[in-house]
């Protein structure tokens, strides 16, 4: 959903022809891209909030309050009722950081394209390919593993471990934020120098 909307933010305007009209107004390209990026973030946050409310609300309605049983790599973990809300919140904050990376990637690809479908499909392809590579337990891929941002996106699950691997989660969150900033920087640099000829 995030890729679907953010991938269309710039290229959709280029395809519609409204991009050239926006850029002939006195706003500057940096502001234009920044506004698009903030919109992408707000949209991601909106989707996540909706998802969060549904997930947490429905769980409460269906299963009721109380302790949570989680089956993960460490085995069966029991999370106390008192810890549940903040763990959920922390997981959603981490998920927001992950989605920020996806949105930034999608926006970057959108700045390179003049049609709406390309960036959306390409974002999905990147995520799927990276996820598939991450799931292979082959030493051949080991050198590139730390650079695959999808490797870090699933770490929200570790917030339901006991104890929580805080350092690992913070490191992954940092890597994801760094990815977002790099994608944002590339978008700004490319768009600043881009000739609008569509």
């Amino acid at each position: 959903m995030v890729a679907l909307v953010t991938g269309d933010l710039i290229s959709g305007e280029a395809a519609m022809g409204t991009l050239r009209y926006s850029l002939t107004k006195p706003i500057g390209r940096f502001k234009f891209i920044s506004a698009k990026w903030i919109t992408a973030m707000l949209y991601s946050l909106g989707i996540l909030l909706l998802l969060g409310v549904f997930a947490y609300g429905l769980s409460l309605v269906i299963f009721g309050p109380g302790d949570l049983l989680v089956l993960n790599a460490d085995g069966l973990v029991v999370i106390r009722d008192a810890e549940l809300f903040w763990r959920f919140m922390a997981a959603f904050v981490f998920a927001f950081i992950s989605l920020t990376t996806v949105a930034s990637l999608s926006l970057m690809l959108s700045a390179f394209s003049n049609n709406s479908v390309g960036p959306i499909v390409l974002t999905m392809v990147v995520i799927i390919v990276f996820t598939v590579i991450s799931s292979f337990e082959m030493s051949f891929f080991d050198p590139i593993m730390p650079f695959l941002f999808t490797n870090h996106m699933g770490l929200w699950r570790r917030l339901f471990s006991d104890p929580i691997p805080t350092a690992e989660i913070l490191r992954s969150a940092g890597i994801l934020v760094l990815h977002s900033l790099v994608f944002f920087g590339i978008t700004q640099y490319h768009f600043k120098n881009k000739d609008i000829i569509e």
Partner: protein, 338 residues
Amino acid sequence: MKHKACELVHTRNYFVEHFICKHLTKTCVWIATSCNRSMSETILSVSGLEKYYGTFHALKGLDLEVKRGEIFGLLGPNGAGKTTMIRILVGLIKPNKGTVRYFDKIDLKDLNDALPRIGSIIEEPRFYPYLSGKLNLQVSARYYPKGITKQRITDLIELVGLTGRESDRVSTYSQGMRQRLGIAQAMLNDPEIIILDEPTNGLDPKGIIELRQLIIRLKEEFGKTVILSSHILSEVEQMADSMAIINKGVCVSQGNVSELLSKNSVSVSLETDDLAASKVMIEAMGYSVTQDQKAINFNAELDAIPNVVSKLTAADHKIFRLDHRRKLEDYFLKLTAA
């Protein structure tokens, strides 16, 4: 009684003062405008503009100068570089070389300072089709830091003749209506310069006439400088005060439209009582003459026509009709043929 008389005198004085003030202001504005025009202030100058698309050299050192308050026609065949130049003027494309200077002081690197004083339509105007015409204008208005009033939007809708349709979705608009909405959008910030790239493209004859009238109004009523790119020669000939002809990325001619055309030969059509004898006589003056059933036709310098007429009348040839046309087509083709 005396008191009332005083009041009346005061009231009269007030009206007289108000009248004088009002007309003095009008006179001052008129004088200022006239001075401004007679000063022929350069509002845009382009010098040595070059642009490459890969290895293709689209603009090869283009020079132009546009004066305040004129309609400036930019003519050229397809692919001559008109749209590239216009996109550079509004900051959509970056030139490889050369300078663009607005209002005698603002360069391209500070274009954001000039853009609040410029309005443009680049190729066909594009809008959000799912929004109404008015909402599209309101969205555009948000780009201007000083803000655009709702009244201004209403006034512009009226100016371009879209009153009554402003709340309809743009997707239901005809091409002509979109073009007029584009002009309203370009006028939102009350710009000093309006840049129109091929504004009559895709319009029917009625739409072309309406748009032409609107463009002339922008100049005459609102004192706007209009830069108009077109490959339709008659369009430029009818509207523009000055023009530049661009061919293969260079400006091959620039100046006042009538002066440029008067420098060149005109096409003369002459109807006399004895076409054959007149033809022989004009040929003897060194002109190449063709004859059809009703008239003889030849090309001559504008200044030479009285001489031809006087020689014919001196030889007792009766002239029933004489037409001459300054043919922009001929001039254009002469410059762009190579």
